[in-house]
């Protein structure tokens, strides 16, 4: 590179090829389209889209924000496109649910500048509580949806998405999945625009205000605009057909990448016709031509049989009684992501080829390596004290963040989990029907994302709920994005700077919502922590404890970390009671030949184990 560019994807060098992560290819596509405003709420597997945009925003002259939640992210991006800007909003698949309200009316109102919503899917729920298929939003809410198979698709489709959006006045959804987002693949750069769109908001209430009388007119117009999307898609080049064989294969998303790889590896290109479905609504003409030209069809798509149903309908309308295979025929499973073996096996069955010979290699029993709270993580200390005071019987409602790892052994701090912000509502419900005080855990980011409304609801109802806000000043789980929670709550000096916003106070927010009892403490300070917890346990109605301590890993990244102390276990004093591991599950403490040790490279010196050890065997 050699230039002073902040990032390689800012190069204006059309024709250059590079190996780009799918998420970065999306950003490049948006840059080539001259995007002017971007919003995001972090979520795996989409996080790198927002993170990269944030990093290059100033150089690329883009307005960028980490929004407080996906609803706001979408609303801000939509508002800006009404003033003529090209905008992009990025989130994980579940983000569109939180943004469901604005999403459902935005197509009615329509855009001026193009708008692309990136909503990254997670087949097999690798980092999510479910594997929802967002493609159904296309027919139900009238969204054109683009479905990339590779990083090159991701780039091209993002860029095209803005055109498509402007020509139909519909916001467009780009739906990559984990294997596209987190795959590096060859992409060819296009050129960056010399000029961006003019910004001007022109008042026209009948155009922008969907009161019923306008909404009914808009709904009529949507019929034509959605049909126009299909027509534009048919000329987009995102439905390539290869081969003239009588065995038809229709594939979408990463399923297309697997299918074309398997066709190549099996050397069956002359026997099949492969059609990629690059978007929705699938243009009728394309399916019609395809069903007429083949003798059978295998549909390769992850999640629900969305394309399969449309292919079946197309065959029906074309009066073609040909076999259509896919999920219904059990060539493919109904749930979970696909992989190359699955697709190759299905292709072999479909074409009547011999089953693949796979020498059975015995795999020994291997110890699993699940994720665990880091050594020194402040959440462990919070969980420990809360359980110490509130006991085993209390119902602990957890939320989405690193602290979900309080689940199971040994911390037992996650009895319920649903979605962002649900900890407080669920704690409310259990408390109301059982009459027992419950505990809700959520982090700083989640608190502002969707914790304020259920907290207000609990206050209104006077529920016996203790809300514990685990404020570590960062959105750790998705890659350490800045959180808007304030240093204002911090009893200790700020943990570095730079990416931190001015900040909002969780404490003041809770008080503002009418919570009477609010404590803001450092959980590493035993005295104030235990005092606060004793108080709230016997309190009335809703009360709140904010635990303020920075995420260790984030402090290290910021270069402000200093190891507090170094601990070791005195082998003379240790009775092998195993309490430290059984209570805390700190990965720095381990057993080796029946003796207990602290790994000096892993220990962060948080000091929690010292308090747990009754033998005083853990020393500096």
């Amino acid at each position: 590179m050699g230039t002073a560019l902040a990032h390689e994807i800012l190069q204006n060098s059309p024709g250059l090829t590079a190996c780009l992560l799918g998420n970065l290819a999306i950003v490049r596509g948006a840059l080539e389209a001259g995007v002017q405003l971007c919003t995001c709420y972090p979520g795996t597997p989409a996080s790198e889209v927002g993170d990269t945009l944030g990093r290059i925003a100033a150089d690329a002259d883009i307005h960028f924000e980490y929004s407080i939640n996906e609803k706001v992210a979408v609303e801000v991006a939509f508002g800006a496109c009404l003033a003529g800007a090209r905008t992009l909003s990025s989130m994980k698949h579940l983000g569109v649910n939180y943004a469901g309200d604005p999403l459902s009316t935005m197509p009615y109102v329509g855009v001026e500048g193009g708008m692309v919503i990136v909503s990254a899917g997670d087949p097999s729920a690798i980092t999510s509580p479910n594997e929802q298929d967002q493609r159904h939003l296309s027919p139900s809410l009238f969204y054109p949806i683009l479905d990339p198979a590779t990083p090159q698709d991701a780039l091209d489709m993002t860029r095209f998405g803005f055109e498509l959006s402007e020509q139909t006045r519909l916001p467009v959804i780009l739906r990559p999945t984990t294997r596209v987002c987190h795959t590096g693949g060859m992409v060819e750069f296009g050129s960056l625009p010399e000029k961006k769109r003019e910004i001007a908001f022109e008042k026209d209430p009948s155009r922008y205000v969907p009161i019923p009388i306008n909404a009914r007119r808009m709904r009529q117009e949507l019929i034509e605009r959605y049909a126009r999307a299909a027509e534009l898609l048919s000329r987009s080049g995102f439905f390539p057909r290869t081969g003239e064989g009588k065995h038809g294969i229709v594939a979408s998303g990463v399923g297309y990448a697997y299918a074309s790889q398997a066709i190549h590896d099996l050397g069956i290109a002359d026997r099949v016709s492969l059609l990629q479905i690059g978007g929705y609504p699938i243009p009728g003409r394309i399916l019609d031509d395809f069903v007429r030209s083949v003798e059978s069809i295998l549909v390769v798509e992850e999640l629900t049989p969305f394309v399969e149903e449309r292919v079946t309908l197309a065959a029906f309308h074309a009066d073609r009684r040909i076999p259509i295979y896919g999920k219904r025929s059990r060539h493919f499973p109904l749930a979970g992501e696909y992989d190359p073996d699955l697709v190759e096996d299905a292709l072999r069955t479909y074409l009547g080829l011999a089953k693949r010979e796979r020498p059975a290699v015995p795999v020994p029993d291997l110890p699993p390596r699940p994720p665990v709270l880091c050594p020194g993580c402040p959440h462990r200390t919070s969980f420990y004290y809360v359980r110490k005071i509130f006991g085993k019987q209390t119902v602990y409602c957890n939320d989405i963040g690193c602290y979900t790892l309080g689940y199971g052994e040994p911390l037992h701090s996650c009895d319920l989990l649903l979605c962002m912000g649900a900890s407080i509502s669920q704690a409310t419900a259990i408390a109301r029907v059982t009459g027992e005080r419950t505990v809700a855990y959520l982090g700083d980011s989640t608190f502002f994302h969707s914790g304020l409304t259920p907290l207000a609801n609990a206050v209104t109802n006077g529920d016996k709920v203790t809300v514990i806000v685990l404020n570590n000043y960062v959105t750790a789980m998705t890659g350490f994005q800045p959180s808007i929670a304030a240093q204002a709550d911090a009893p200790s000096p700020p943990v570095g700077e730079g990416r931190r916003s001015a900040g909002l106070s969780i404490e003041q927010a809770a008080r503002g919502l009418g919570v009477q009892e609010v404590f803001s403490v450092d959980q590493f300070d035993e005295e104030s922590t235990v005092a606060a917890l004793r108080q709230v346990k016997t309190g009335d109605g809703v009360n709140v404890v904010i635990f303020n301590s920075a995420c260790v890993v984030h402090e290290k990244q910021l270069g402000v970390y200093r190891k507090r102390r170094q601990f070791a276990i005195d082998q003379e004093a240790c009775t092998q009671c195993s309490l430290c591991i059984r209570m805390l599950g700190c990965p720095a403490i381990h057993v080796h030949e029946e003796r207990f040790y602290i790994d000096e490279n892993l220990c962060e010196g948080c000091g929690l184990c010292v308090r747990v050890c009754k033998q005083h065997a853990i020393l500096r």
Partner: protein, 214 residues
């Protein structure tokens, strides 16, 4: 199975914090700069929290982002159990490089104190044997010791890359990768990284010799 000449599918396996993804990036960039077509996949749910991490680097192999079973030409195993976890991708054609230094999963200690006394970390011999059941091309080295000797335990990934290039398996002179690597390495860490790489190359060369002698 058809493969275009010169194609190569590399799987890198390790644990969070070992630099699996970084190693994959370095390899991918290197081959792209040589005009090759690269596809590189990552799987790393919550790598930061110590989980298992795998990444693929597939050179001139088409657009598929994942390996099929037995599909790896090379496995770089940064940790013994994680190397064995890659067995589904290993066939008799695969060359496996395995670091023998274990990173013991924390879960084993927890299981132990909870009374599951049988939970244990398999012996390195056991793991080697399992891999030998799939391929005779297994080379082992203590990359962690070499990384420490070079000055930082965090360079295990670099030692392993050195070993890969030193072995001559890819038919590319080890210096070529080193040159490219040094152009991108942060100056502060350049010396440690170079040393780690060279230790890896050295062991790769000697291991390759002993393999020929077999």
């Amino acid at each position: 199975m058809e493969r275009s000449p010169g194609s190569c599918r590399i799987l890198i396996a390790g644990t969070g914090g070992q630099g699996v993804i970084t190693a994959a990036h370095l390899l991918a960039d290197f081959f792209v700069q040589r005009g090759r077509k690269v596809v590189s996949g990552q799987l790393h749910g919550m790598a930061q929290r110590g989980g298992a991490v795998q990444a693929t680097v597939m050179i001139d192999c088409g657009i598929g982002p994942q390996l099929s079973s037995g599909g790896a030409d090379v496995v770089l195993g940064l940790e013994p159990v994680e190397t064995a976890r890659a067995l589904p991708s290993i066939s008799s054609k695969t060359t496996v490089f395995m670091n023998t230094a274990a990173v013991i999963p924390y879960l084993l200690s927890l299981q132990y104190v909870l009374g599951e006394k049988s939970a244990h970390y398999p012996s390195i011999e056991e793991l080697q044997q399992a891999i030998r059941g799939a391929t005779s091309r297994l080379v082992v080295l203590d990359a962690t010791a070499l990384a420490k000797r070079a000055g930082s335990i965090r360079t295990v990934n670099v030692v392993m890359l050195g070993c890969l290039f030193g072995s001559g398996l890819l038919g590319i002179a080890a210096e070529q990768f080193l040159d490219a690597f040094m152009r991108t390495a942060p100056p502060r860490l350049a010396d440690v990284n170079r040393q780690a790489y060279l230790y890896g190359v050295e062991s790769g060369e000697s291991l390759a010799v002993s393999k020929e002698a077999q």
